[in-house]
Symmetry: C2
Amino acid sequence: MICIADNIQITRKVIENALNSYSREPIMEQVRICEQHGADMIDINTGPLTRNPEDKMRFFVETVQEATSLPLMLDTSNPIALKAGLEICRNTVYINGFSLEPHKLETILPLAVTYRAKIVGYLLNPDSSVPLNALERMDRALSLFEECSRRGLDLEQLIIDPVLVPLLWADGSLQAMDVLEVIRSLPDLLGFPVKTIVGLSNLTTGAPDPEKKYLMERTYAAMLGMAGIDMVLMNITRRQTVDTLKAASILMKRRVFSWEEL
Amino acid sequence: MICIADNIQITRKVIENALNSYSREPIMEQVRICEQHGADMIDINTGPLTRNPEDKMRFFVETVQEATSLPLMLDTSNPIALKAGLEICRNTVYINGFSLEPHKLETILPLAVTYRAKIVGYLLNPDSSVPLNALERMDRALSLFEECSRRGLDLEQLIIDPVLVPLLWADGSLQAMDVLEVIRSLPDLLGFPVKTIVGLSNLTTGAPDPEKKYLMERTYAAMLGMAGIDMVLMNITRRQTVDTLKAASILMKRRVFSWEEL
């Protein structure tokens, strides 16, 4: 189980300010916090970077690489910024993410082919709306696989994100259960040990109080583990959620257990 | 999801002493603690009660009934004690438990038929050893169902316990995963919406420290919820485990979610 920190994101004021003023230290400090909390990978969520995308992405990636040698996930919908980031990555790098949206197939997917980077594909409709149920997600997964094959991606580079939506949505809890079903079924459906990832923070967006939020997050984390998830993008400072994912992962290995592993 | 307190058991000194000296108050106090912690049912684990089984069981059941009107589970391998308890139960009563052991089929199962009580059947071998894997458990479940039908039990009275063993056992974590598989598959296998129960405390017996113990317990609790468990016998004072079971149960209902439910 790979735990990826979603903490280095432009929507956080500390990160936004540091990026806008090209200040390295606040970003490095946040990255060190992620590493201290057990992150296996760092997601660099820059947003679309409409102004100076190449400069800003280069600064961002260089800064993060100064603080850590962990693998990085570049998380932007801007292919110009993405390319600039991929060019200067020394650490192992993943692209997060693309989907069946035509412009993403045209501009993001080819970068994964060129740079031989692993890439996260979201199970979204071509108009970027969320599928209604597990069956529709499965259908999107088949389409993604076809598109990737056709466009020359080695299928081992593909990681599928079935897209978790907030429980607050009218059908949020149904979707959460469908996502578990998809994670469990995908390798059989595709006839391939496809890796899966979920963005866990999304589940509890808008929760009325922290205690309930964390309770639901760690409960669902155990379920993700049972479903066979490979990677979880999450707020890495939530100790109990990280611990739960690790405990679930140990159980799921189906081999002799030792309390020392925990 | 029904949470059953396993706290009222003879192996605890406070209960043993109270039972031996026929002191009601310590038992009632412990029952009230269980109810305050959200127990839906109280398991009365008397052990075999080799001396004065009828007197002691009557005293025990009467005392618990003075403290609570919650449903009770009578947990003894002694059919004489069990019969005495069933006779004076005013609260809803369950029998816990029997298995394919011949003397239990002969002496415990008929009491469930006579008193029309729900009864927990363990998926154990006839010699009381634990099955080796999920397949063997499924086979024991089929045998239990046949025996129950043959002996006149209404199948809706039967609750299946697939028997969780400590993670410390050489194959403990494999068995824990098998138990989840059995819980998920049993209704399909038996062609009947059979209810399932698990004794959760057993899983973490011998854990080296409380933090790891509770982490593994609540992680597995979420998995039990996802597998579709109906009843969990547990240390009801573990707030996080109870909360996790409730959260899992809410998610599993597959209907519109509200944070107010938690």
